[in-house]
């Protein structure tokens, strides 16, 4: 205690300060490359607020019949994609997870496949399908299914891998077949997690399906993009509010159900 400096913790504060410096540097660099002017952002903000308040409000209630069917389409697309995606993902996850996979090569292939799905946005998939299938809800659903599978396969596989292997051994030791092991050992443990994650994905899919229309996937996205491009802002607002309500409703419902299940 004769030293003049008494440290408070073991690691050097140098790490923290270098980190902070790095972040600041990155901010400046990326600001430059995106031509983002912080001052302009602040200056522009009141203008944007004004823009929104005068041009976007009040929402045009009379526009509702124009997009109501699209909205319904959006909802249905999300439901179909999530459910279909969940079923397919579950099958693939079972083939991919360590305890239940039939062969290591299968694991690698499915993981690569899932990685492709996960890292390519659903909208990109939609753009690939439109030239082949034409514009419409079919494309939307397919793209959404692929997008949903991207996140579900890995999560389901992880859930399966985390189960307690004891129950699998128990069923095996009394001579259970692969299917019995599945039903009695694996599924009971991962089911709540799977349902929960699927519900969470429903929330994501609703959001995704509202915008997939912008690349030709059907649903309300097209209406919103279309009305904004044609300066019919108030109609767009009405649709956006409808979307917001749909999303919030789904979130609330999903939350309630997930709480009951877990």
């Amino acid at each position: 205690m004769q030293s003049a400096y008494i440290p408070l913790k073991k690691e050097k504060s140098l790490y923290t300060w270098t980190g902070v410096l790095l972040v600041l540097l990155t901010t400046v660099v990326t600001g430059y490359t995106t031509k983002f002017d912080a001052f302009e952002a602040v200056r522009v903000l009141p203008g944007i607020m004004d823009f929104i308040l005068t041009d976007f409000l009040p929402p045009a209630a009379e526009a509702v019949p124009n997009f109501l069917s699209s909205l319904l389409d959006t909802l249905c697309m999300a439901i179909i994609s999530t459910v279909t995606g969940a079923i397919i993902s579950l099958v693939l996850a079972l083939l991919c997870a360590a305890p239940t996979t039939p062969h290591p090569a299968v694991r690698v292939i499915i993981r690569a496949f899932a990685s492709c799905l996960r890292n390519i946005p659903a909208l990109a998939w939609a753009m690939i399908f439109v030239p082949a299938f034409g514009i419409g809800k079919t494309v939307g659903v397919m793209a959404l299914v692929l997008g949903a599978m991207g996140s579900m396969i890995r999560f389901f596989a992880e859930t399966i891998e985390e189960i307690d292997l004891g129950s699998i051994e128990a069923v095996r030791s009394v001579g259970g077949s692969y299917w019995q092991v599945l039903k009695n050992g694996v599924l009971p443990q991962c089911f709540p997690g799977i349902i929960s994650w699927s519900l969470y994905n429903l929330e994501l899919d609703i959001r995704a399906s509202t915008i997939i229309g912008m690349v030709g996937g059907g649903g309300i996205g097209f209406f919103i993009q279309f009305t904004i491009k044609l300066f019919k802002y108030r109609q767009a607002t009405m649709a956006i509010i409808a979307v917001t309500l749909l999303v919030l409703l789904t979130e609330a419902l999903s939350k309630r159900i997930r709480e009951r299940i877990m």
Binding site: V83, S115, R118, P121
Partner: protein, 267 residues
């Protein structure tokens, strides 16, 4: 030993809940199917065409790689900048949104506001900003910021609310002021969580920034929509590859850094 043959997939007491749930789901599914009237007949034909498209994409056209990489860099910058800005702002606001350290009304206000902002997809926000500011990366950054900010406020405030009450009590009892209590008692336990949330959001932002261009916000999304419009699949293939690599690269990077985020804890 009684064989586990009678293990039900779902716990007994929740059986009714699950049954109802499944019937509802099946019902909705069937309804949606009928309603959407999906053109399944065109299926086979479409798949053949898709095959053709994909094989064309795999013959990638690298000719304009400089442009593409530049655009990719722009998208990446957008993602980085938006994440940093929104994280910084969300950090301060989250203290107002957390019920255990802020007043009830303030918390309610911020939670409600951010829930509303979050409910509107990023792309729609970007559309609005493009309508006002014109094309370019700038509205993209703003759109992404908006949504990220709302998301991170929720995530951060969730972490704050998970701090042990004892921590706050103890620091209050020493006579510390509110900022001191936050800095010394609330932030240290949640440091790692905050960084994990930000990293998670960053991954998402990288994916999203690549498609912002589809509504005119520049970056690689704009490149993609340009080539797709002319049905130039070989060029598109290369662009999609770049998008994939960016996203995949970040994913690998974070796996290495082992940022443990329990994604299941999301909302």
């Amino acid at each position: 030993m009684k064989t586990p043959n009678n293990v039900a997939i779902v716990p007994e007491k929740q059986k009714t809940l699950y049954t109802v749930f499944f019937f509802v789901v099946i019902g909705l599914y069937v309804y949606s199917f009928i309603h959407l009237d999906l053109a399944l007949k065109s299926g086979l034909d479409g798949f053949v065409k898709t095959g053709g498209i994909i094989s064309e994409m795999l013959h990638m056209d690298f000719s304009e790689w400089k442009e593409v990489l530049k655009a990719a860099g722009e998208s990446l910058s957008v993602a980085i900048l938006a994440t940093i800005i929104s994280a910084a702002l969300a950090f301060f606001v989250s203290f107002m949104a957390a019920a255990n350290v802020s007043s009830g009304i303030l918390a309610w206000f911020w939670k409600g506001l951010t829930a509303g902002i979050r409910a509107v997809p990023t792309l729609i926000w970007t559309l609005i900003f493009v309508a006002y500011l014109g094309l370019g990366a700038f509205p993209g950054v703003l759109g992404l910021c908006f949504h990220s900010f709302a998301y991170l406020v929720k995530a951060f405030s969730q972490s704050i609310e998970e701090v042990k009450e004892g921590n706050i009590e103890a620091l209050k009892a020493t006579g510390a002021s509110w900022p001191q209590i936050m800095a010394r008692g609330v932030i240290p336990p949640i440091q790692t969580a905050l960084i994990s949330w930000t990293a998670l959001r960053f991954e998402f932002n990288v994916s999203t920034s690549s498609i912002l261009g589809l509504v005119g916000a520049g970056g690689i999304g704009q490149e993609l929509s340009l080539v797709m419009r002319t049905y130039n699949f070989s060029k598109a293939g290369f662009i999609i590859l770049v998008i994939f690599l960016m996203s995949f690269g970040i994913e690998m990077l974070f796996n290495r850094l082992k940022l443990n985020v329990d994604k299941r804890k999301l909302q």
